[in-house]
């Protein structure tokens, strides 16, 4: 049977048509398979710093728009996020590509859409510690495990102030450790930071624009 005989060609054409139709689901999804094989990765043309600079220029003319730049080194991607809304003291920023981060007074309390997301973070003690220069706050992070159960990681942290507007928070649990860096402005608000999300995502950089 020659490789290009009629039956083979028909089948190849059929596979090319595959996942046609308006009904979702069922059977092998070739489109999903090809995405995994060919690894659709976004093109990274702009670095986080460049993005920050561009947005700062635009922002001066739009007083009401609130943005931040999120830098995710593990994916090699930086993107602008816009403020979607505020619930009590938590601001949620999101992109149209389906990722969101939630910040409580500048501290990361949730991510969605990254994969290996931080589901919730109890940073009450950390906030108190940042304000009152106290030591040894406890943080509690919650994540989903592979079986859809919520798992809890508790960290004991220590704060260090190497400079007047920089605080470094070092946190340790039984198996994990990380180091967050916060940069403050004159009003005592966090304008830039590097914060840890999860063991798989690692650190992300957050730069507030406006």
């Amino acid at each position: 049977m020659r490789l290009l005989d009629k039956r083979n060609l028909m089948f190849v054409a059929a596979v090319a048509l595959s996942a046609c139709g308006n009904m979702q689901g069922g059977g092998a999804d070739i489109k999903q398979l090809s995405t995994v094989i060919f690894q659709d990765t976004p093109e990274v043309s702009v670095s986080a710093q460049e993005l920050t600079r561009q947005l700062r220029q635009q922002a001066t003319s739009q007083a009401n728009a609130h943005f931040l730049v999120l830098d995710v080194p593990v994916f090699g991607v930086a993107a602008p996020f816009s403020l979607s809304g505020t619930n009590r003291d938590v601001d949620t920023y999101l992109t149209s590509s389906g990722v969101s981060v939630s910040l409580r007074n500048g501290l990361l309390v949730a991510t969605r859409g990254l994969g290996f997301d931080l589901m919730t973070a109890d940073v009450t003690e950390t906030l108190v510690a940042l304000g009152a220069n106290e030591d040894r706050p406890v943080r509690i992070h919650r994540y989903l495990d592979g079986d859809n159960q919520i798992i809890t990681n508790s960290f004991v942290c220590s704060l260090e102030r190497p400079d007047v507007d920089v605080i470094i928070e070092r946190c340790v649990s039984t198996y994990l450790a990380f180091e967050n860096t916060y940069n403050f402005d004159m009003n005592g608000e966090i304008i830039a930071s590097e914060q840890w999300v999860s063991p798989q995502i690692g650190m992300i950089g957050i730069t507030m624009i406006n």
Binding site: F11, V15, S18, A19, G26, D29, D147, N148
Partner: protein
């Protein structure tokens, strides 16, 4: 003691010498190691955790699935192993042993099934102990029983020793120590019970026993080096029938190399005569590619602002309801859901939602709740969310908007939101719900490739087919639909099977004829009507071409309260055998079948089912199934059916049994999807205990939104 050169390997002193040399070498090499390596258990040629041809007393990670192909000296073993619980593991093996060239023929194809149980864990001083039963069902080509023990002398070096019966008691054996308990332990009966396929309990731990042992050393993070002393004499393989190799030595040497986190390669030198190799693929249902999935972010909660003026002024607006409904439709579609219907009052809203995307019902409910906070006017405080599956209202979840607003970022919002949610039966939900017209009176269709396979035919252990499939569905109204499935095969030898030798009605064994002539095949064309009868009761009527081999009528009723772990159902069918060409014609055979079924979700994520009734061949009997289920959609289970068809009439295998798997595709892709791949592995397909494959059975439709399954995945409510 004088030993000749040949006899040296066969003496016990050889064992000690070899072991000492090995240990000295290992210890000196170990001292050269700079950093500690994590000992990783690896698979052996039998497809279980072990050395080379022998087992160790280690278990795989809980829920690990491993497929191993191992080959040496004309023997090929393909094994699927599953760590059923942290201590209990099972294996299903399909092996081939070649005949000697002079004898010719296809050789021996054998199915075997193992169970292993770890009795004792390794501690600082004590070793781990495992008891194993190898090839416990059927002809027993590989039958062996053993008690094995392992201990880490150093973190990277493990020593294993054990005592074996059966095959593992055949080399350098001694009188069975268990004969002190009972004389019958001294000898092992031969032969097979009846038609095979039965548990040969009368042979276990009987006959001579022998010692075996070995060492395994984790040289690097990826490489494990092994040596063993095997008590398997390979009598069958060295008999004139097979004549596969010369057993020059009881010592085997080999290694296992991890090619990746999920793949390992084995290479061995066995019995002083042969090289062998193996490849293992592992998968763990509890370790998906992306934990939590890479699905897009949910709509954030929009908290209500403090109200001034008339909070219910919006109710006077003439098109207010339509605008709100359109917003709901749009926002739900954006997140992969559809609005079926909505009923709105000044202070409460009921939405019927179709979840097209998320495996966990809780995630669809949580996303819907957040969307409601964004769309609904401030006066609407009470949310009732009703997931609808196939037109059936599966549950009504009552949530308070204030709770959603309060809990969005609360650190322990998962269990708090579950505690505050009320789950109740949905049969009596608001009758004023207005239907979304776009969902119904529409034709949905899909063209895609399909793959099919049959296994374990000695003429061809795997037969396959690849082709194109057209699936279509027309939803007339909630719960009323017509659906069909057409297949056209492009490649495959799936139709080449043997003719059936069954002595009872050929209700399933004509499979090869259906596969051969069914091209193209209308595998299904049915009209289906299913609905909530009353609180806790559901019903279904289906008619048409129900499956590849049968058409007919099916009626089912199910009792399943939302909060109950137990469900009870009854189904009755009229089945008429279809023509082999799987088009519109029928043959003569027809039968009334039906079952009463009990379903039970155990607290430890095991799920049991018992069906009692009449099967396709007119036989009466019972099917028992037990599955280990995971909250992410994975299921691995086993079933067996005993009916009044005698083992003799059933034929080879004695009774119907098998393994079944359900694999969620999002495990591999990360993107949310409700697609699952379901398949059943039967060692043999015969005609006794055959059940009709009816589509749309009720329990599967409703169970995902009942309390047990919702609670299990409620962690995803805020995802």
């Amino acid at each position: 003691m004088h030993v000749g050169r040949e006899g040296f390997w066969h003496s016990r002193s050889a064992l000690f010498t070899a072991a000492s040399v090995w240990m000295l070498a290992s210890v000196s090499l170990l001292q050269a190691q700079e950093t500690a390596v994590d000992f990783t258990d690896s698979y052996n040629l039998y497809g279980t955790i072990g050395l080379i041809d022998l087992p160790t007393a280690s278990s795989a990670d809980d829920a690990e699935l491993a497929a191993t192909i191992g080959h040496f000296a004309g023997t090929t073993r393909t094994t699927l192993s599953f760590q059923i619980t942290p201590r209990l593991s099972g294996s299903f093996r399909y092996s081939h042993i070649k005949n000697a060239p002079e004898i010719g023929g296809i050789g021996l194809y054998d199915r075997s099934f193992d169970l292993r149980y770890r009795l004792m864990d390794e501690g600082p001083v004590r070793p781990s102990v495992m008891i194993g039963l190898q090839d416990i069902v059927g002809t027993g080509v590989y039958a062996a029983e053993y008690i094995v023990s392992s201990k880490h002398l150093t973190p990277a070096l493990m020593v294993t020793g054990g005592i074996g019966w059966g095959r593992l008691g055949s080399y350098n054996g001694f009188d069975n120590p268990l004969r002190a308990l009972d004389d019958r332990f001294a000898t092992r009966p031969g032969g097979t019970t009846g038609r095979g396929g039965q548990f040969e309990t009368s042979k276990w731990f009987r006959g001579d026993a022998a010692l075996f042992g070995g060492l395994s050393w984790q040289a690097t993070d990826d490489l494990n080096i092994k040596a063993e002393y095997s008590s398997d004499a390979y009598a069958r393989e060295r008999s004139p029938q097979n004549d596969l190799f010369e057993r020059n030595s009881p010592l085997n040497f080999g290694l296992s190399y991890a090619l990746s986190e999920n793949t390992a390669l084995q290479a061995h030198y066995l019995y002083g005569a042969e090289f062998g190799a193996g490849l293992t693929f592992t998968l763990n249902p509890r370790k998906p590619v992306i934990i939590g999935g890479s699905g897009q972010r949910p709509t954030p909660v929009v908290p209500r602002q403090r109200q001034t003026g008339n909070a219910v002024a919006w109710t006077a607006q003439p098109d207010g309801q339509d605008i709100l409904r359109d917003s709901m439709i749009r926002l739900l579609e954006f997140e992969g859901m559809s609005l079926e219907a909505m009923a709105l009052s000044p202070t409460s809203v009921t939405v019927l939602v179709r979840n097209k995307t998320y495996m966990a019902g809780a995630e669809a409910i949580g996303r819907t709740a957040r969307i409601l906070t964004r769309v609904m006017p401030a006066s609407v405080e009470h949310f009732t969310i009703v997931p609808v599956v196939g037109g059936i209202r599966t549950v009504a979840v009552d949530l308070q908007r204030s709770d959603i607003e309060e809990l969005e970022f609360a650190p322990d919002n998962a269990w708090k939101s579950f505690a505050r949610a009320k789950l109740r039966d949905a049969a009596a939900t608001d009758a004023n719900t207005v239907l979304n017209p776009d969902l119904y009176q529409r034709l949905l269709w899909r063209i895609g490739p399909y793959f099919a396979a049959t296994y374990f035919d000695p003429d061809s252990p795997i037969r396959g087919a690849v082709g194109l499939e057209l699936a279509a569905r027309y939803d007339i109204a909630p719960g009323v639909s017509i659906s069909g499935n057409l297949q056209k095969r492009f490649f495959g030898n799936i139709g080449d099977g043997r003719e059936s030798d069954s002595v009872i009605q050929r209700v399933r064994t004509d499979g090869p004829l259906y596969a051969a002539e069914g091209d193209p095949a209308l595998t299904q064309l049915v009209a289906n009507y299913q609905f909530n009868v009353s609180p806790d009761y559901y019903a279904r009527f289906t008619g048409g071409y129900l499956e590849a081999m049968y058409g007919g009528l099916s009626a089912e009723v199910l009792w399943k309260p939302v909060q109950s772990r137990l469900g009870i159902g009854a189904e009755i069918n009229y089945a008429h055998q279809r023509d082999f060409d799987q088009l519109f014609g029928f043959q003569d055979y027809n039968v009334i079948t039906g079952h009463a079924s009990a379903y039970y979700a155990f607290a430890n994520n095991f799920h049991g089912q018992i069906d009692v009734g009449r099967y396709l061949a007119g036989d009466f009997g019972t099917t028992v199934s037990l599955d280990r289920e995971f909250e992410n959609g994975w299921r691995v289970g086993a079933f067996a059916t005993l009916t009044d068809v005698s083992f003799d009439e059933f034929g080879e295998g004695s009774f119907d049994k098998g393994l079944r798997f359900s694999i969620p595709l999002e495990h591999f892709f990360g993107r949310p999807s409700r697609d699952t791949n379901q398949f059943t592995l039967r060692p043999l397909t015969r005609d006794g205990g055959a059940r009709l494959n009816v589509p749309n059975r009720l329990y599967e439709t409703i169970r995902e939104n009942h309390a047990n399954d919702l609670r299990g995945s409620w962690g995803r409510f805020w995802r």
